[in-house]
Point group: C2
Chain length 179, copies 2
């Protein structure tokens, strides 16, 4: 464990905080009904998330602090933001109240499974492969699907959320790409 | 570290996930402009957050998984949700675009400081006292202030957010109450 990270060791955390900032702004953009820009913000978070780890390894400044901050940012950018975006853009406008409440439950389920995944992954300390689908992939895919919402039927979104939620907390191994 | 938490060890995590669910629903309620109920949801999260730790200690099932999940939930319920609630309810309706953007920056700053605080606190592993103001207190206070928004001047909110953000990442010791 490295205490009091300064200078070079702070650089990866700047990327991580930028990731969190994009997730935060995605939520603000959802409120303002700018769903496409919100999805773009989440995709920008995916890019920033891939950079922080690379930068930390390149500079040899990987730290427990950085890992913790990364998990926290990931929950907002790839768990909460994509779930609320999908709910608001696709499920909330549906006519039936019944479908809306099921949609809200699915969105909450996705976010909660994301949190369970992150908590478990941080605890396991495995670096060679992923256990279950990474939340970055799940949230990124939902954001990507949002860009094609005029072409896809609405039910693709809740079904994808349920499948991705289960895949996040599943225990099968997924190879790590582009380390 | 306890691997594969089951049965009794899962009970505290149910409280933690309920805390996250309340934070998630607070965000949905902000979008639907139900600001008072959103603030009440955050205050309910404060209650649930105080329960998970107590239950874990009572059952002697404190775990790294539980601690991780707690931090993740806290960021959503006491960092992101109160910041977005305060921005939307108080700062967004202000006339000037200039003030709005400053307000958005302050809200984002509050959430980011909350994440830095949680990442640092989890890394330090201190159990006898808090270093800086806990995010639960900061987010809970913002939610409480929201209930009195018809009585308080608007500038109380951004000023409180800035002060609380700094206090969260400050390094002075705060006694732990009601352990």
């Amino acid at each position: 464990m490295k205490g009091n990270p300064i200078t070079a060791s702070m650089i990866p955390s700047i990327f991580t905080l930028a990731n969190l900032l994009c997730g935060f702004l995605a939520l603000i953009l959802v409120i303002e009904k700018h769903y496409t820009i919100a999805a773009a913000m989440i995709l920008l978070s995916v890019l920033l998330d891939s950079l922080d780890g690379k930068v930390a390894r390149r500079l040899s400044v990987s730290s427990d602090f950085g890992k913790e901050l990364d998990s926290l940012s990931d929950l907002v950018s790839f768990g909460v933001a994509p779930a609320i975006l999908t709910y608001q853009a696709i499920l909330y406008p549906l006519q039936s109240d019944y479908v809306k409440y099921i949609g809200l439950s699915i969105a909450a389920f996705f976010a909660l499974c994301g949190a369970v995944r992150l908590a478990r992954f941080n605890m396991l300390n495995i670096t060679t492969h992923f256990v279950g689908v990474p939340i970055t992939f799940a949230g990124g895919l939902l954001a990507l699907l949002m860009l094609f919402r005029n072409m896809l039927p609405w039910y693709i979104y809740p079904v994808s959320m349920v499948i991705l939620a289960f895949l996040m907390v599943s225990t099968f191994k997924v190879a790590k790409l582009g380390k």
